[in-house]
């Protein structure tokens, strides 16, 4: 009789082991295909969404493959810091706001921007029209929300420009902002930070409980940091400095940039198709919201007067001076970016007859629906 309990225990243990083994074997997935493609990884700033459409398009349209690259795209998340991932050699390429990369570099991480994809800032401050708070100056003494954690400098610079001291809560009260816009809809703050491509749409996709209809752009004041003159460079591509000093890696980077830029050009010229590619990679994403996002992201890239991805010196120095004012960086950055690889990539595309500036690009009009569906 004693043995039967042992048998039972063994049976259960064996079943558990089999289940675990099955889990391991299925999770391991298909065996890696052998090919001559160069394997690289791209670490995104945030989860899959149209903000990164160009890279997904380059992969889906086979631009990376044609360039001899096998690119793995790693989505980001709340605990993922792209600078750490790239510095820790978990990815060759990373995407983040340029000021974040500067901060990491200032602390000793040898990271170099090789392509500044977004030419203008998408950050805005939202207020309700009926409050009359339509300028930064009028926010004196008010509650202003931001996500903080490295995303606050454009807003802080704007408030400072009008004599407030946001770092010490003098003249203005800074409130930590959650991911969603509920608190703004409830009017718990006077002004909230919003990216044109995400949070602004979230407000316009919500119902006004008084009218029963969606909120309209005319209900809001949208104060763009770009217009205030405190816009900073946002999404750019960076790599490790020691990695990019290698000639072979420079060739890989040039190919990566050219294919990625081509992906962004595709998204500019094929808005709806590109949204489809994003949705295929994020099956739980709401389509209407992503279509809005794609259109707004295009507006941050295009037109790109120098050609997509080439750093604009004026925007660079503005980003650096704001970063220094708020001690994001202690010393003036040196060698934090290079434009030679992006220039070469743009030249390659030009030779292929690709429009790399998008001078004639016109922003589409996207109608938002309830819930972003």
């Amino acid at each position: 009789m004693k043995t039967s309990y042992m048998i039972g225990t063994v049976l259960v243990a064996a079943a558990a082991a089999v289940a675990a083994a099955a889990a391991i074997s299925t999770s391991a997935g298909a065996a890696p295909e052998r090919s001559s493609l160069t394997k690289v990884t791209l670490q995104l700033k945030w989860v899959t969404q149209a903000q990164f459409a160009g890279y997904y398009a380059a992969k889906a349209k086979g631009y990376y493959r044609q360039a001899g690259l096998d690119v793995r795209i790693k989505p980001g998340g709340p605990d993922i810091i792209p600078e750490q991932v790239v510095a820790g050699r978990q990815a060759e390429f990373g995407i983040n706001w340029f000021s974040n990369q500067l901060a990491a570099r200032d602390k000793g991480a040898n990271l170099v921007n090789i392509g500044q994809v977004f030419t203008r800032s998408g950050l805005t401050l939202l207020t309700w029209k009926d409050t009359g708070l339509n300028t930064i100056a009028k926010l004196r003494g008010k509650k202003v929300a931001n996500w903080l954690g490295g995303n606050e400098w454009e807003v802080f610079a704007a408030l400072t420009k009008f004599g407030m001291d946001p770092t010490r809560n003098r003249g203005v009260t800074i409130v930590q902002q959650p991911f969603d816009m509920n608190f703004f809809l409830r009017r718990q703050v006077d002004a909230a930070s919003a990216m044109t491509y995400n949070e602004l749409a979230q407000v316009l996709e919500a119902k006004n409980s008084k009218t029963g209809k969606l909120y309209q752009p005319k209900d809001l004041n949208v104060i763009k940091m770009e217009a205030v003159g405190t816009g900073m460079l946002e999404d750019g591509i960076f790599v490790r400095g020691d990695w990019i000093s290698d000639k072979a890696n420079q060739a890989t980077a040039r190919k990566f940039l050219a294919a990625s830029f081509k992906g962004w050009v595709y998204c500019r010229d094929h808005l709806r198709d590109c949204v489809k590619i994003v949705l295929a990679n994020g099956p739980a994403l709401p389509r209407g919201h992503q279509t809005w996002q794609m259109n707004e992201i295009n507006a941050l890239i295009w037109p790109a007067p120098k050609g997509i991805g080439i750093m604009d010196p004026k925007s660079y120095s503005r980003t650096v001076s704001i970063s220094r004012r708020f001690k994001v960086v202690k010393k003036a950055p040196k060698g934090a970016f290079r434009t030679d690889l992006a220039r070469a990539a743009v030249a390659t595309l030009r030779r292929q007859g690709v429009d790399v500036t998008g001078k004639r690009w016109k922003k589409a009009t996207i109608k938002l629906t309830a819930g972003g569906k």
Binding site: M1, A16, A19, A20, P75, G77, Q90, D180, P286, H289
Partner: protein, 297 residues
């Protein structure tokens, strides 16, 4: 005579079957009743708070507390035109997370049991190590998870395995503590009897101590089973894994203002996964403990 002798057990078998059925009906009835009460409680709270406009502890409206039928209904909605139903999407995500959690649970339970056995046999080790075992659980998992991901990632371990390790971290502790306690719970007379037979440590362990500890170990495994699911969900966040329930929660959290029902629906599926794990351990317990010597003999 022979036929009546056969007839009696048949009748009694039918009687016990009827009893079982009655028992099952009572259980099912209570289950439905409790579920209905919870549903009614939710709706009543919602209705009262909205009618009175109470704002404590929080404002109640369509966003903070969607209707239950809306949450359930959301499971059968398509998020994208032509895309899968939410429940199909979440089912796939749950399977993905279940794999991570199962590996984590197996890993955590084995390590936990082994550690418990080792600690039970050496007072010195117990004194030396137990404080650290306890300390390990006071460090929040949210702090540990990114470290595990970064460290294992640098060893080129697949991302899902890092998630399993995080899940194992939440699993092993109750198992260790209860194994330790369970091994000491063996009847002193049985231990003495075995010693008088000159039984070695090994046979004492397997023939007396482990069987005695099984009820303790299984209560720990039940706690661990649900914890392993929680660990897997949390572990997905710093691991760039979007295919599991953690990824789904992060995504729907982002769009909560627009679509609160999807996040609640995801929570329901996550809870169901935890319950499934619990039931699996419960069934295993019935299989093993029923056969344990003290219950069989």
């Amino acid at each position: 005579m022979a036929s009546s002798a056969l007839a009696i057990p048949r009748r009694s078998a039918r009687a016990t079957a009827r009893e079982h059925l009655g028992d099952l009906a009572v259980r099912a009835g209570t289950f439905v009743l409790v579920l209905a009460a919870l549903w009614a409680g939710w709706e009543a709270y919602r209705w009262l708070w909205m009618r009175e406009g109470w704002t404590r502890p929080f404002v109640v409206d369509e966003t903070t507390m969607p209707r239950i039928h809306e949450i359930v209904g959301q499971l059968f909605e398509r998020l994208q035109p032509g895309g899968p139903l939410l429940i199909e999407l979440l089912f796939d995500a749950a399977i993905f997370t279940a794999k991570e959690a199962a590996v984590g649970f197996a890993l955590g339970a084995s390590v936990g049991f082994a550690l418990g056995v080792v600690l039970a046999h050496s007072r010195l080790l117990q004194r030396g190590l137990l404080p650290y075992v306890i300390a390990s659980q006071t460090v929040p998992i949210l702090a540990v998870a990114p470290l595990v991901v970064v460290y294992l990632g640098s060893l080129n371990v697949p991302a899902w395995f890092s998630v399993s390790v995080i899940s194992a971290y939440l699993t092993f502790f109750p198992v260790t503590i209860n194994t330790l306690r369970g091994l000491h719970s063996a009847d002193a007379r049985a231990v003495e009897l075995m010693r008088s037979y000159a039984a070695g440590r090994w046979s004492l362990l397997w023939k007396v101590r482990v069987p005695a500890s099984l009820p303790y170990i299984f209560s720990a495994l039940k706690v661990s089973a649900t914890a392993s699911v929680v660990g897997a969900i949390i572990g997905e966040l710093p691991s760039s894994i979007q295919e599991g329930l953690g990824g789904a929660i992060l995504n729907f959290n982002q769009y909560y203002t627009l679509d609160p029902a999807s996040l609640w629906a995801t929570n329901i599926i996550a809870a169901l996964l935890g319950i499934t794990f619990f039931i699996a351990v419960h069934l295993a317990e019935r299989l093993v403990v029923r056969r344990a010597p003290e219950n069989v003999a």
